[in-house]
């Protein structure tokens, strides 16, 4: 092999970079971490079913924003006929008042930084 020193250095850099997720997870020891969220409400039913909310709540909130801000429509009728006030802080955060234990846990787990709080005031949480 010609230029063995350079080639082997290059290969090592390549392999370390490409397998870095493995080493980072071993170093942090959080390979099987799973965020646990706390649901701080007595209410049994959200405005839509859980599977939809888990994957697509941002669509719903975005839709609500447009309806309220642009169309001045504030009443949301859910699939089971119940009506809700389309409000992040008054409806969503009424049940899910614990932002740091509900919103943030999953969001920071998958590296999402929603810009809700660019406009909305972050609710004060009751420290338990």
């Amino acid at each position: 092999m010609y230029d063995a020193g350079k080639i082997i250095t290059g290969i090592i850099i390549f392999l370390v970079l490409m397998t870095s997720p493995f080493w980072l997870n071993i170093a942090s020891g959080k390979g099987s971490y799973k965020p646990e969220i706390k649901i701080a409400t007595e209410e049994k039913q959200c405005v839509a079913d859980t599977d939809y909310m888990k994957a697509a709540h941002m669509d719903l909130i975005y839709e609500w924003r447009d309806q309220v801000v642009r169309n001045e429509k504030r009443i949301y009728t859910s699939s089971n006929g119940k009506t809700y006030n389309m409000s992040l802080t008054k409806t969503c955060m009424n049940c899910h008042s614990n932002k740091s234990e509900f919103c943030d846990r999953c969001h920071s787990y998958v590296g999402v930084t929603p810009y809700c709080w660019d406009c909305h005031v972050e609710p004060k949480e009751v420290v338990q």
């Binding site: 290059g10 994957a55 999953c106 810009y115």
Partner: protein, 330 residues
């Protein structure tokens, strides 16, 4: 024909993953086994090919000279386009690897108004390639948010930069739009330009369609048919910590995405995509143009058996003396 065959090949891959992870319930195979096979073949294949290249001798000193060579002191030399030192070579390689300088120098020849030959610069390929490659790199780095826990600091920073304009929710990543644009350009270039269409092979289209399918499934998952990202991260985190878990309830589209990536990784070292590693080993770029200062020894040179005049004289001294021939040594 090649276009349709490669399109069908990619569609078959999609179908395999769809049926396999959806109807046949083989999530473990498509979620863990295929990716690890793909990753190992990718790493092993690249290392194999690099070592194979490194074993091949470079018989001639062949850096391409794209500027004035280093010469007399009063003559200005082109340090990056015709480097004579290692530092210059590093600079040249960086420009090549990061900014595709040789594509930037691309020219186009055209016949205009009858027999009038015109040369002009052609930057579209450079622009399309730059948009595609940089977007791909940023997208791969962005995916680290699924690969590690905690997420490295620069990943979230890069994501926020990528979603700078905050269009929609989840925010539109500019690289998602750019990579689709880049790939579309790279595809239409092969279709529209007759000479390029003539030399385009099955594999050229296959790679484009495969990457495009990966991009489209990713975009679908992010913006349209959502998947539960918490479950997705559990799977990827399990994969990247030797801790395999297959959470219930991830949609088939995720497994299609993953299977296409596995296929790309598997094919990567065997395809023209190894230019990722090969660019570092191109002797036309990575050699300093110092052939007038330093002799390049051809590694193929074998020791030639020679018979010098001194040895000849030693052998025939007596006969030469007898014949009265002049000798160098008495």
């Amino acid at each position: 024909m090649n276009i349709f065959l490669s399109l069908i090949a990619v569609l078959v891959l999609i179908l395999i993953a769809w049926v396999g992870a959806g109807a046949a319930n083989l999530q473990f195979i498509f979620g863990m086994i295929m990716p690890i096979i793909g990753l190992m073949l990718f790493l092993g294949g690249i290392v194999y090919r690099v070592i194979k290249w490194a074993r091949a001798p470079v018989p001639f000193h062949i850096p391409t000279s794209c500027g004035q060579q280093k010469s007399l002191t009063w003559m200005q030399s082109s340090k990056l386009d015709n480097p004579s030192s290692s530092l210059g070579v590093i600079g040249r390689m960086l420009l090549e690897v990061l900014f595709f300088r040789s594509l930037f120098r691309n020219t186009k020849m055209e016949l205009k108004n009858g027999p009038k030959l015109v040369y002009g610069s052609a930057k579209y390929l450079w622009l399309g390639a730059l948009a595609f490659h940089w977007s791909f790199l940023i997208i791969v780095i962005r995916h680290f948010r699924f690969f590690t826990e905690p997420i490295p600091f620069f990943v979230n920073f890069m994501s926020s930069l990528d979603g700078f304009f905050q269009i929609g929710v989840p925010v539109l990543y500019l690289t998602d739009a750019l990579i689709v644009g880049g790939l579309t350009y790279l595809f239409f270039r092969r279709v529209v330009i007759p000479q390029l269409r003539y030399i385009s092979l099955f594999s050229d289209y296959f790679i484009l369609f495969n990457i495009l399918a990966i991009v489209i499934t990713g975009i679908l998952m992010r913006y349209f048919t959502k998947v539960d990202l918490i479950l997705v991260k559990q799977l990827t985190l399990g994969f990247f910590s030797f801790n395999p878990v297959i959470p219930e309830g991830i949609g088939s589209i995720f497994y299609i995405h993953l299977f296409l990536v596995s296929a790309l990784l598997t094919y990567f070292p065997a395809s023209k995509l190894v230019h990722m590693a090969g660019v570092f080993l191109s002797p036309t770029r990575n050699l300093a143009n110092n052939s007038r200062m330093k002799r390049h020894i051809n590694p193929w040179n074998y020791p030639v058996k020679v018979h010098t005049y001194e040895e000849y004289e030693d052998e025939f001294r007596d006969l030469m003396k007898g014949a009265g021939l002049p000798l160098e040594k008495e």
